[in-house]
């Protein structure tokens, strides 16, 4: 309760409410989204079988650390449950549209980079299938 006769700049309250809104509502959604995105991307990279074990180890460590960091910094109250669920749902929906995640060697950078092959990318899917067949 604040006396309304006090002339407090509205920006002060606005900044507070924006920050509060972010931590209470947006942050749980971001954490849910990033957690699922990270684990699913990791799972798909592992399933492709092309990545070396140190890469898998590093990716798994980073993804789990990000998700745990998110949980630690999350304001835990009952209202965050549906928001966290929304983030998880959104990430799952996006991942369902992804055919595969590969880590090809970048010709110029000479390092492995993450490449996403979407379900609509027929050319990319065919190339991937050919590469897999050739490996077998």
């Amino acid at each position: 309760m604040i006396d309304h006769s006090l002339s407090i700049p509205p920006a002060a309250a606005l900044v507070f409410h924006l920050k509060q809104g972010f931590w209470l509502y947006a942050w749980p959604m971001i954490i849910g989204f990033v957690t699922i995105l990270g684990y699913q991307a990791l799972g798909r990279v592992v399933m492709m079988g092309a990545a070396k074990w140190p890469v898998v180890f590093a990716m798994a460590s980073v993804v789990s650390m990000i998700s745990l960091f998110g949980w630690v910094t999350m304001v835990r109250f009952i209202g965050m449950i549906p928001l966290y669920g929304c983030g998880v749902g959104l990430a799952s929906a996006i991942m369902s549209r992804i055919y595969a995640v590969t880590m090809p060697l970048h010709p110029k950078l000479k390092m492995r980079v993450i490449r996403v092959i979407w379900r609509g990318d027929t050319e990319g899917i065919q190339k991937l299938q050919q590469a897999l067949r050739a490996r077998v």
Binding site: M1, I2, S5, I8, A12, F16
Partner: protein
Amino acid sequence: MKLGLFLLLVSLTLDAQGLVPRPAPDLRIVEASGKATTLSTFRGRVVLLAFISTQCAHCQRASMVFQQLSHEFAGNLQVAEVAFDEGADTPAFTKRFGLSFPIGVSNTDLTHDFLGIAHGERLGTPQVVVIDRSGMIRAQSERLGSPILQTYDYLRELLKATIKLQVAR
């Protein structure tokens, strides 16, 4: 419909707490050393008073904010705290967080009386109160706590406005 309105009014009445602005009741702040100060001795300065529990993490964080503000508004602002948790070790609390303002000890009933809240009602801590130079309460936390009154940026603006309010009169 009528029953709903009636129940709403009853719930609002039950949740009633002292409104602002209102005159601050006098309060005796007795520190652990036995030194006693009354709130009325701070008249002429804006007072930032907080009722805390020394074990509560929000109170600990807010106390550090209050310390920073007490330096920033030195001469115009008096910060004081009253710990109302059982067995509060205020000297240890003061030392741990490097606080230089008086911290008294009290009990829950006195805290409820000062805040204008019925005895037995659950309180969120810290309960922050801003009193102007003439002894009027200008801001007070909601019964279950107001995070906005624990943040440095907002409190600074609120205190500036309270200090200015007196200069204008």
